[in-house]
């Protein structure tokens, strides 16, 4: 890569990163530009990848046999039906490819979900070790089995929970969930901060990010800040001129 593209790339990267962050000050032209550029490039990128996959499917698989050619042509034809979504009159045609995709997806999930997410989980809880392990492990195993059962009971809705035994079960289930969601809370904060830290590493040019970023960072930050405040003053002055 030439020097120019390296510098220009770093410049754009820093500019767009800071343009997004300028949203924190307030919604503004920089952040709006960034949002639109993001959407435009993401859609273009997605289509390019789809088409690339289509071409290699055609060349590497379907074009090799005559049945393949027919099947591929038929698939393309069905694929065109998606676009009747935009027609009021022929809207119903769009439901055909939709039904194929949804049906296959449902079927694929349906066939294994009962094992992977139901029976294996039930089995893992039903098969906990209580004998032959140390007391602390046995206690935790038993505790987690009780917790699973109580939370499951909490999420049943057909039994009228009038008997007094339900109250402690539900309270225990809710406390279990709150302690459990504490983990979700902690890890969510970790993720959000990590993503932000990653962007800061980018801005500071921490290797492997381009060291040029560091040079651009303060200048572009200054540029955005000045324009933001300038824009604010401009809007204010226009508003006062009107009244």
């Amino acid at each position: 890569m030439s020097d120019f593209t390296t510098y220009f790339g770093a410049f754009l990267g820093v500019l767009f990163t800071l343009a997004v962050y300028s949203f924190l000050y307030r919604e503004n032209p920089w952040s709006r530009l960034a949002e639109h550029m993001f959407i435009g490039s993401a859609i273009g990128y997605g289509i390019a990848y789809d088409l690339d996959w289509m071409r290699s499917q055609w060349e590497g698989r379907w074009s090799l046999t005559s049945t393949g050619v027919t099947a591929f042509a038929f698939a393309l034809l069905l694929g065109l039906l998606w676009y009747f979504r935009f027609s009021r009159k022929y809207f119903w045609l769009y439901r055909i490819p939709l039904a194929i995709i949804t049906g296959t997806g449902l079927g694929l999930a349906f066939r294994t979900v009962v094992f992977a997410q139901l029976l294996t989980q039930v089995k893992a809880t039903a098969g906990i070790q209580l004998v032959g392990v140390d007391a602390w492990t046995a206690f935790n195993n038993l505790l987690s089995a009780v917790m699973v059962v109580c939370v499951l009971l909490y999420f049943t809705f057909t039994v009228r929970q009038t008997h007094p035994v339900w109250k402690p079960i539900n309270v225990f289930a809710r406390y279990t969930m709150m302690a459990g969601f504490g983990a979700a809370y902690g890890y969510t904060i970790l993720t959000r901060m990590s993503l932000y830290i990653g962007r800061c590493q980018f801005l500071l040019g921490v290797p492997p990010y381009a060291p040029e970023n560091k040079t651009f960072f303060p200048w572009i930050a200054l540029l955005i800040l000045v324009t933001l405040i300038g824009y604010d003053l401009y809007v204010k002055s226009r508003a006062s001129a009107k009244t």
């Binding site: 009962v114 139901l118 089995k123 809880t125 089995a145 009228r160 809370y185």
Partner: protein, 259 residues
């Protein structure tokens, strides 16, 4: 004929599937099974009552997802059932209800729900179509619009049931700041903690479907809840039996499930 190791799964599957169909069919004949009223609904009533006393509007949203997605669609539907309930109560108490919408496809449905609620309460003239607000298709555009609307209108209650993502935080933070009594609910697990700590009452996960089914009395929704309960009770029974049998050293229940 049967694939080995998949018999127990097939049986489980068939029991749940058959009971779903049975209870849906039964429901269609008017024999709707009874399901428990989840306590979150009382909190909604209280929130609306308080907003009415204060003379402030009620905000009610149904998440940011559309209707067609397999996992998020049902959440939106549950949110719309709650909206129906909220709109009826608001119409009864003559309290304004504001509905911020993110999906174009949901907008007409939300509007129709509120309009019908006012008609059913005999006050069609009080329905304000401009209170069903389409904000923006973009996630943060939507939440920005929602937040400023809550601040401007001084929301007295904010009821959010549906599929929410990062905006859950922004909305509940703003709601708390303007002093609205907030009831939230979502099945997006990673957002539940934020709803729990930032709003006054939270419907957790499947509770939103149960609330939706309880309020709508739709046979398909109620039948599904019943079938899922049956599936849960089987699971619970297997766990309890397995733990007890496991004390003997060999676990026959686990072996049975590996069939």
């Amino acid at each position: 004929m049967l694939q080995s190791g998949r018999v127990s799964g097939l049986i489980y599957l068939l029991i749940v599937a058959a009971s779903a169909l049975y209870f849906i069919k039964r429901g269609e004949k008017g024999n709707i099974p009874e399901i428990r009223r989840v306590s979150g609904l009382d909190a909604i009533e209280e929130a609306i009552g308080r907003a009415t006393e204060m003379g402030r509007p009620v905000f009610c949203s149904h998440g940011i997802s559309g209707l067609s997605d397999a996992t998020y669609g049902p959440q939106t539907i549950a949110g719309l059932s709650v909206l129906n309930y909220v709109a009826r109560l608001c119409a009864r108490y003559a309290t304004r209800v504001i509905v911020p919408v993110r999906q174009v496809s949901v907008y007409p449905i939300a509007r129709e729900i509120v309009e019908t609620a006012y008609k059913l309460e005999g006050k069609p003239e009080q329905f304000r179509p401009e209170d069903i607000v389409y904000l923006s298709g973009f996630q943060f555009g939507y939440s920005l619009g929602y937040m400023s609307l809550m601040e401007r209108e001084r929301a007295g209650a904010n009821i959010m049931v549906g599929a929410y993502w990062a905006e859950s935080l922004q909305l509940s933070e703003t709601g708390a700041r303007v002093g609205a009594l907030q009831v939230s609910g979502t099945a997006n697990t990673h957002q539940i903690p934020f709803f729990v700590v930032a709003t006054d009452y939270t419907l957790i996960g499947e509770e939103i479907y149960a609330a939706g089914a309880y309020l709508s009395k739709d046979p398909a929704m109620v039948g599904s809840i019943v079938a899922q309960d049956i599936g849960k009770f089987i699971g619970i029974a297997l766990i309890v039996l397995g733990v007890i049998v496991g004390l003997s050293g060999t676990n026959y229940i686990v072996k049975l499930l590996e069939m």
